[in-house]
């Protein structure tokens, strides 16, 4: 009996190690290939001469991009949108979630429903598009000509994140708040000195959700930002991809490196910042998933 047990366990262990290794390698391989392809010579890229390690190493594709002002523009724009967008979203969410977490708030159920309903039903792309166009017109009329502010302010709020924050604030023991009020703290001080420090990790998680969605935002940025100098990185990558994979446009390509290398180089550039901060933020992401099952 004992013997049979060990065999079945061993087999399962071997299977899981093997399949997991295969899956992990498959997850990682496209990125490694992109890095190799971005620095390989033209023939190696075009005729799939490289499997994993780069061949005929060149850095012309990278230098072509680094010399492109539009690329740096796009990068700055993405940083701008990510930074201000995250701050704006956090500002509105934290204040809103704090107020919603208070039992003494009137019409609390109504406000909650107001939020949750947006998770159930959205008006759809076309009305949203018309609405953003109107907003853009208003913004231009009051003198904000930079469409990036439209992306920062009007887009990217998520009811789910506010509910995560609200639940976390509700978990703060009321005794601590009462103690602070007895000591003469105002509403702002209670929020700033009690609630925010006590839910640091969930705020970090929510900030991360907002930040990543801003960094990755594509569709509305492309629709709404008319000046190509203000395009964020994702739009820039997509436009380049459309240009560089068009066989007609690329027929006259006569550089020493493949046109695909430029695309791969772009992809590498856009994932490098995420790769750098990835080890530090990964645990917050795991946390966000585990608190996802929420109750009303």
């Amino acid at each position: 009996m004992k013997r049979k047990l060990e065999i079945s366990e061993l087999i399962f262990k071997i299977i899981s190690y093997t399949l997991l290794t295969i899956f992990a390698v498959c997850c990682l391989y496209p990125f490694l290939y992109a890095i190799s392809a971005s620095i390989s010579g033209r023939h190696a890229v075009e005729y799939n001469d490289l499997i994993l390690f780069p061949k005929d190493i060149q850095f012309d594709a990278f230098s072509k991009m680094f010399n492109d002002n539009m690329f740096w523009n796009a990068y700055t724009n993405t940083l701008f949108i990510t930074f201000y967008g995250t701050i704006w979203a956090l500002f509105t969410s934290i204040f809103g979630a704090y107020a919603l977490s208070k039992k003494r708030l009137l019409f609390r159920k109504g406000f909650n429903f107001f939020l949750v309903f947006t998770m159930w039903f959205s008006a759809g792309l076309v009305p949203q598009y018309l609405n953003y166009l109107d907003t853009k017109r208003v913004f231009n009329a009051v003198g904000i000509m930079d469409d990036k502010w439209l992306v920062v302010i009007a887009m990217g709020m998520a009811a789910m994140n506010i509910i995560l924050l609200r639940n976390s604030f509700e978990g703060v023991p009321s005794e601590i708040e009462e103690a602070a009020i007895v000591d003469g703290a105002t509403e702002m001080q209670v929020l700033w000195r009690v609630y925010i420090p006590m839910s640091k990790s969930i705020i970090a998680t929510v900030a991360l959700f907002f930040g990543i969605s801003r960094w990755n935002g594509y569709f509305w940025a492309r629709q709404m930002i008319s000046n190509s100098n203000e395009h964020p990185l994702q739009v820039f990558i997509r436009l380049k991809l459309e240009q560089y994979t068009d066989p007609e446009q690329m027929a006259a390509w006569n550089e020493a490196y493949a046109s695909d290398s430029v695309i791969y180089a772009l992809i590498v550039c856009s994932i490098v910042p995420i790769l750098i901060i990835y080890p530090f933020i990964q645990k917050y992401f795991a946390k966000g998933v585990n608190v996802g099952g929420v109750k009303e």
């Binding site: 009305p127 609405n131 994702q234």
Partner: protein, 350 residues
């Protein structure tokens, strides 16, 4: 309004007695003096209500105004008719989409079918993967090795849709006079899974492959990350349960069947219900980035249909009507799923 006993009194665990519900105190207060008192309560606590304002404004302006504009989309601008009749003329769009005879009707039904099928296949193939991966993670005893695997498999989730789709398109790109096909296409040809001609024409241009590409890239992107929640449920199982099963002579498979599965079943059910609830909310961005006119047959979903006719094209009313039908059915699914979840496991998702 239905009131429960807990609305008046709540059990205070600290003192072990029932105390008055603070919400009810406010309600009583309001009821006594009506709206004047509402105003007074708000004024007394004005800071709290001021904090609510930015959030409400954002949601009102950019979530609820579009819903109002949705009504405007159905208005056929006809100044002779009174306003009420103008609104009702909007129903002609629904009629045209559902029972019309033109290409628009066929395209709409195709888009609706594709939306459903893409989600459904995602449910069949994409949903079990994270569970399997979580089970495998549980087998790895070394913490360092497991963390390495976790870092590797979560990584694709952090990539933007644009980068992800760009990589996919490059890996299966079509061949041309000057260059070969993408490396993944080449591998598939060498394995004998697809013919050389198909690979040369480009898998992205072949409607037969769109759904497979969509699902496989979805698994690549999300399976590792989605396994977190299942893995958390598995490691919460007490080791004594396994020991008890082992003493009773359970092999690995029996342990899976009688220990692990029952323990994570509630998590699976909740995730499954959420998944069913969002069956019609397909991420339009990914489809929009992956599809092209050659693959409309299998790739066109309702959102992209609306995008093509309403934003790129000029048929705003028609496109809105199509998407609204989709979203209303989607909403009913979410609410239905949530109700079932509440009945089945006392867990309400919202």
């Amino acid at each position: 309004m239905q009131l429960n006993a807990t609305d008046y009194l709540i059990f205070d665990e600290e003192s072990g007695t029932y105390i008055e519900n603070p919400e009810q105190v406010v309600r009583d207060d309001v009821e006594k003096h009506h709206w004047l008192n509402v105003l007074k309560t708000v004024l007394k606590d004005w800071r709290l209500y001021l904090m609510l304002v930015p959030m409400l404004l954002v949601f009102l302006l950019w979530r609820y105004f579009p819903m109002y504009e949705l009504l405007g989309c159905f208005k056929v601008t006809d100044e002779v008719k009174p306003v009420a009749e103008q609104f009702f003329s909007g129903f002609s769009y629904f009629k045209q989409l559902l029972v019309g005879a033109g290409t628009l009707t066929t395209e709409f039904w195709r888009a609706f079918r594709n939306t459903f099928l893409l989600s459904f296949y995602g449910l069949c193939f994409g949903f079990p993967m994270p569970i399997i991966i979580a089970l495998f993670f549980n087998e790895i005893r070394s913490n360092i090795l497991r963390s390495t695997y976790q870092v590797m498999t979560y990584l694709p989730k952090f990539m933007s849709t644009v980068v992800m789709t760009s990589l996919v398109m490059m890996l299966v790109k079509q061949g041309s006079l000057t260059s070969g096909t993408g490396i993944l296409s080449q591998l598939l040809v060498q394995l004998g899974l697809i013919s050389g001609d198909t690979a040369y024409a480009g898998l992205m241009n072949d409607p037969n492959f769109f759904r497979a590409i969509y699902q496989i890239s979805g698994i690549w992107e999300g399976a590792g990350y989605d396994s977190i929640v299942f893995f958390a449920a598995i490691i919460a199982i007490s080791p004594t349960s396994y020991e008890a099963a082992q003493i009773d002579g359970a092999g690995k498979m029996s342990q899976m069947r009688y220990v692990v599965l029952p323990c994570i079943l509630s998590t699976i059910v909740i995730m499954l219900i959420t998944r069913i609830g969002s069956l019609l909310n397909i991420g339009y961005e990914k489809v929009l980035l992956l599809y092209n006119p050659n693959t409309y047959v299998t790739a066109d979903v309702v959102s992209t249909f609306a995008n093509r006719y309403g934003i790129t094209g000029t048929m705003k009313g028609l496109a809105s009507a199509a998407e609204m039908m989709n979203n209303v059915i989607g909403m009913l699914l979410v609410i239905g799923a949530n109700t079932i979840s509440r009945k089945a496991s006392d867990v309400s998702l919202y």
